[in-house]
C-alpha cells in the first residue's frame, strides 16, 4: 500500500507540476487522485488506506513544494464536518460537500452552542419545523467561530420539544448564504472578533441537507464532538512544538530575564509538555486506525492546561515588556495564529483553550465517567420532556 501511495503521489506531481499549476487546480487534482485524506473511501478524496499513511503522502508533497489546503483556515470543516458527513451523510451529500470542503473552496462553521445551551448542549432551543420537504429554522447560536467566512454550517436544532432533551434533536447542513442567517461579530478578550453570534430567522433547509435520522441528531453530534477534541489536542508534533517551544526560545535568547523561580516553573512546564507530547504519540501508535475516544478528551485537557501555564509564564518572564500588548484593533481573522502574535495575545487567547470544544470541567466528567467508570451525578432532567425543563 505504501509503495502504491508513493507511485500515485509521484504520478500526481508529474501530471501537475506544482511550479506551474494553479493552487486550487492542484488541490482538486490531489483530491481526485485519492491523496487528500488517504483513509477516506475511493472517489471521496481517499483510497481506503490506513490513516497513518497520510504522513507519507504529506511528506512527499511537501518536499516537492506542493501547495497545502490551509488547515488552520478550514479546521472546522476538516476536523468536524468531514468525519460526520462521512459517517452519516448520503452518497449525494458526500459527493457535494467533501471536495470543496477539503480544497478550502468552502469554509465550514459549527452552529451548536446557544446562549442557554453550552456545556449542556442537549438543552438547545433552536427550533426546526418541517414544511413540506423543507425545514424552517428559528433561533440563536453563539460563539460561532468562522461564521463570517463560512459557506456552510453544521447545525443542530430541536425538532421535537415533547420528548426528553437528547431525543428531540436533528442534525443539518445549513447554507450560510440563506437570507435568514444573520452573522454579528462578538469581540473577544484579545480584541479581535474570531467568533460570532448567529441569528437564524425563518432559515429554509431542504430535507436533503439533513444528516442522520430525524430525532437522532445527538448521536450524530457525538461524532463531531469526539473529532473536535482530537482535532484540538491530537496532532503529531516534534519536541518543543507549540507554546513550550516559544517560551524556551525566549528563555534561551534572553538570559537577562531569567529568575530562579521562573526556571523551576519553566522546567516543570517543559516536563509536562514533553510528557503530553509522548502521551499523544503513544495514543497515535495505539489508535492509528481506530476511532477517537475519551483519550482525545484527555489530550485536549492536557493541552489547555499547558498552553495556559506556559503562555502566562512567558508574559511574566518578559517583565516590563509584558506590560505591553501588540494590538487591540478589532479584527476579523480567518484563523487563529498563536505564534504570529506576541506573548500577551497568546496568554489571552489560551484562556479559550479550556472553554472551546468542551470545557475542562466537562472533559474531567467524561474521563471520570467513561474511562474510570465512576457513577454519574444524580440527574434532574432524565426522562423529562425538553419543554418542561427549567431554563
Amino acid at each position: 500500500m505504501e509503495s502504491e501511495l508513493r507511485e500515485r503521489t509521484a504520478a500526481l506531481l508529474a501530471a501537475h507540476d506544482p511550479a506551474d499549476t494553479d493552487r486550487l487546480a492542484f488541490l482538486q487534482a490531489r483530491f481526485d487522485a485519492g491523496l487528500a485524506w488517504v483513509h477516506f473511501p475511493e472517489g471521496l478524496g481517499g483510497l481506503g488506506a490506513p490513516r497513518s499513511l497520510q504522513a507519507v503522502v504529506d511528506a512527499e508533497l511537501a518536499a516537492a513544494g506542493a501547495p497545502g489546503n490551509d488547515p488552520r483556515r478550514i479546521g472546522i470543516g476538516l476536523g468536524m464536518a468531514a468525519p460526520t458527513i462521512l459517517k452519516y451523510g448520503t452518497d449525494a451529500q458526500k459527493r457535494r460537500f467533501l471536495r470543496p470542503l477539503w480544497t478550502g473552496e468552502e469554509v465550514w462553521c459549527q452552529l451548536f452552542s446557544e446562549p442557554g445551551a453550552g456545556s449542556d448542549l442537549a438543552a438547545l432551543g433552536t427550533r426546526a419545523v418541517l414544511d413540506g420537504d423543507t425545514w424552517v429554522v428559528d433561533g440563536q447560536k453563539v460563539w460561532t467561530s468562522s461564521a463570517h467566512t463560512a459557506r456552510w454550517a453544521i447545525l443542530i436544532a430541536r425538532t421535537d420539544p415533547d420528548v426528553p432533551k437528547h431525543q428531540g434533536i436533528t442534525y443539518f447542513v445549513c447554507d450560510m448564504t440563506d437570507p435568514g442567517v444573520d452573522v454579528r461579530p462578538l469581540r473577544q478578550i484579545t480584541g479581535e472578533a474570531e467568533f460570532n453570534e448567529v441569528f437564524l430567522t425563518g432559515v429554509r433547509i431542504p430535507d436533503a441537507h439533513r444528516l442522520g435520522a430525524v430525532g437522532e441528531g445527538w448521536q450524530v453530534a457525538q461524532t463531531t464532538l469526539n473529532n473536535e477534541r482530537v482535532a484540538i489536542g491530537g496532532q503529531a508534533a516534534p519536541r518543543e512544538a507549540g507554546m513550550v517551544g516559544v517560551v524556551a526560545e525566549t528563555w534561551r535568547a534572553r538570559p537577562e530575564l531569567r529568575t530562579h523561580d521562573l526556571h523551576q516553573r519553566l522546567l516543570k512546564g517543559w516536563v509536562e509538555a514533553e510528557v503530553a507530547r509522548l502521551t499523544g504519540e503513544r495514543l497515535r501508535q495505539q489508535l492509528t486506525v481506530g476511532q477517537p475516544g475519551p483519550e482525545g478528551a484527555a489530550m485536549k485537557l492536557a493541552f489547555a492546561r499547558l498552553a495556559q501555564e506556559l503562555s502566562g509564564l512567558e508574559v511574566e518572564l518578559l517583565g516590563e515588556e509584558g506590560l505591553s500588548y501588540d494590538d487591540w484593533t478589532m479584527r476579523r481573522p480567518d484563523h487563529v495564529d498563536f505564534t504570529g502574535r506576541e506573548a500577551g495575545y497568546r496568554y489571552l487567547r489560551a484562556k479559550g483553550n479550556s472553554i472551546e470544544g468542551g470545557t475542562s470541567e466537562i472533559l474531567r466528567n467524561i474521563i471520570a465517567e467513561r474511562v474510570l467508570g465512576l457513577p454519574g451525578e444524580p440527574r434532574t432532567d432524565k426522562n423529562v420532556p425538553w419543554k418542561e425543563l427549567p431554563r
Partner: protein, 373 residues
C-alpha cells in the same frame, strides 16, 4: 521519533505470567504480614520470579547466560512489582548490580549466576544517588588491595550474596565484587521508611575484593547502572500509581455517604480524572525511557530525567490521594495503602529526586538557570 511506546505481545505475555505469580504468592496481606517479621524479603517468591520465571536474566545477552531480551521487558516486570509492592531485591540485583556488571565485564561468571537467579547482588551506593553524580570516594583500596570505608542506605544489600562496590583505587575509580560472607564486611539494616525495600549501611574494614573494572570503565559502568536504574524505576512508579488509582476508584464506586456513592461527587471525580491523566502520561514517559535505554538511543539521558521528573512525583501523589480518599481506613496499618505510600515516597528520593532530574534536564535541553538572582 522511532521509539515504540506500546507493549509487544511478548511483553504482555510476560506481564501476565508475572502478574499470575504475584497474585498467587504476593498478596498484600502476605506482604503486610512479612513487614512485621524479622525477614523483610520473600526468598521463595524471589526464587520463583528470578530463577523459575527467568525475570533476573531478561536483559542479559544469551552469550552472558541471560534470556537476550531487553530492558523493555525488565521494565514490564518492574511495573508489576510496583503494582504489588513485592518484597524482592529486583531493583538492587537485576537492575542496578546486573547492569553495572554487564557494563564492566559481561563475561564474568557472576553475570550468569545473577541472570539465572542463582545468586543475588546489590550495588553499594546510597539509593539516593542520582545519575551523573561524582564517582563515590567513601571506600578506599589500601596498599594490600583490601577495601575500607562505609556506604549508607544501600538498597537490597541485606538480601545480597555479593556487593558491587565502587571504590577509590590506586589508579582512581574502580569497581570491586565483594562476597557478603567476607571477613570485615558489615551489613547493618536500617529501620527504613519503605518497609518492602529496606536499605542497609555497609561497612568495610580490610575486606578482600575482586577487581571488575578500573578507571573510565568503572565510571562508565556505574553511570550506566544509575541511568538504567533511574529510567526503569519509572516503570515501578507507574505500577504503584496504577494500583493506587484503580484501588481508589473501586473503593469510591462502592462506598456510600450522603445516600450516594462517593464516586458520584464531582469534587472527587475531577481529582481522579486529573490523576488518571498524569498516570497516562507516566506510562508514555516510562515506556519512552525503557525503549531509549533498550536501544541505546542518544536521547536516553533526556528520557530518563523526564521520566523521573514526572513519575517520581506522580507515584507519591497517587499514593497520597489513595490514603486521603479512603478516609479513616486509609490511615490504618491493616489497609495496604501505606505500603504504597512508603514505597512511592522512598522511590521519589531513589536515584535522584524529581528536582535533581529537572536540574539535569536544564543542562541536557539547554534551559540554563540564571547566573545570579
Amino acid at each position: 521519533m522511532t521509539a515504540d511506546l506500546l507493549y509487544s505481545e511478548v511483553e504482555e505475555e510476560l506481564r501476565a505470567s508475572v502478574r499470575a505469580l504475584l497474585a498467587d504468592h504476593c498478596t498484600t496481606a502476605a506482604v503486610l504480614a512479612r513487614c512485621e517479621g524479622p525477614a523483610p524479603y520473600d526468598p521463595a517468591l524471589w526464587r520463583k520470579l528470578a530463577a523459575d520465571l527467568g525475570a533476573a536474566g531478561l536483559h542479559v545477552p544469551e552469550a552472558a547466560g541471560g534470556a537476550g531480551a531487553s530492558l523493555r521487558e525488565t521494565a514490564v516486570v518492574l511495573e508489576e512489582l510496583g503494582r504489588s509492592v513485592a518484597p524482592v531485591p529486583f531493583l538492587g540485583s537485576v537492575v542496578l548490580a546486573t547492569t553495572a556488571l554487564l557494563a564492566a565485564c559481561p563475561a564474568d561468571p557472576l553475570t550468569a549466576a545473577l541472570a539465572e537467579g542463582a545468586r543475588t547482588a546489590a550495588l553499594a551506593v546510597p539509593l539516593s544517588t542520582a545519575p551523573g553524580s561524582a564517582f563515590p570516594a567513601g571506600v578506599r583500596v589500601d596498599g594490600a588491595g583490601t577495601l575500607g570505608g562505609r556506604i549508607t542506605a544501600v538498597a537490597d544489600a541485606s538480601a545480597a550474596d555479593v556487593l558491587l562496590v565502587p571504590a577509590a583505587g590506586p589508579q582512581g575509580a574502580a569497581l570491586y565484587a565483594v562476597e557478603a560472607s567476607a571477613a570485615g564486611l558489615g551489613v547493618v539494616p536500617r529501620t527504613s521508611l519503605d518497609l518492602t525495600r529496606p536499605v542497609a549501611d555497609v561497612t568495610l574494614a580490610g575486606v578482600p575484593g575482586r577487581l571488575l573494572a578500573a578507571g573510565p570503565d568503572a565510571e562508565a559502568a556505574l553511570q550506566r547502572a544509575l541511568l538504567t536504574g533511574a529510567g526503569l524505576l519509572a516503570s515501578e512508579q507507574l505500577g504503584i500509581a496504577e494500583w493506587c488509582l484503580a484501588t481508589t476508584v473501586a473503593y469510591l464506586k462502592e462506598r456510600t455517604q450522603f445516600a450516594r456513592p462517593l464516586g458520584s461527587f464531582q469534587a472527587i471525580k475531577h481529582r481522579l480524572a486529573d490523576l488518571w491523566l498524569e498516570t497516562v502520561g507516566a506510562r508514555a514517559a516510562a515506556r519512552y525511557a525503557a525503549d531509549t535505554l533498550a536501544r541505546g538511543d542518544a536521547d536516553a539521558p533526556v528520557a530518563v530525567a523526564l521520566a523521573q521528573a514526572h513519575c517520581g512525583a506522580l507515584a507519591v501523589r497517587a499514593a497520597e490521594e489513595c490514603v486521603q480518599l479512603h478516609g479513616g481506613i486509609g490511615m490504618t496499618w491493616e489497609h495496604p495503602a501505606h505500603l504504597y505510600l512508603k514505597r512511592a515516597k522512598a522511590d521519589q528520593i531513589a536515584l535522584g529526586t524529581p528536582g535533581a532530574h529537572r536540574a539535569s534536564l536544564a543542562r541536557l535541553v539547554d534551559l540554563p538557570a540564571p547566573v545570579s538572582g
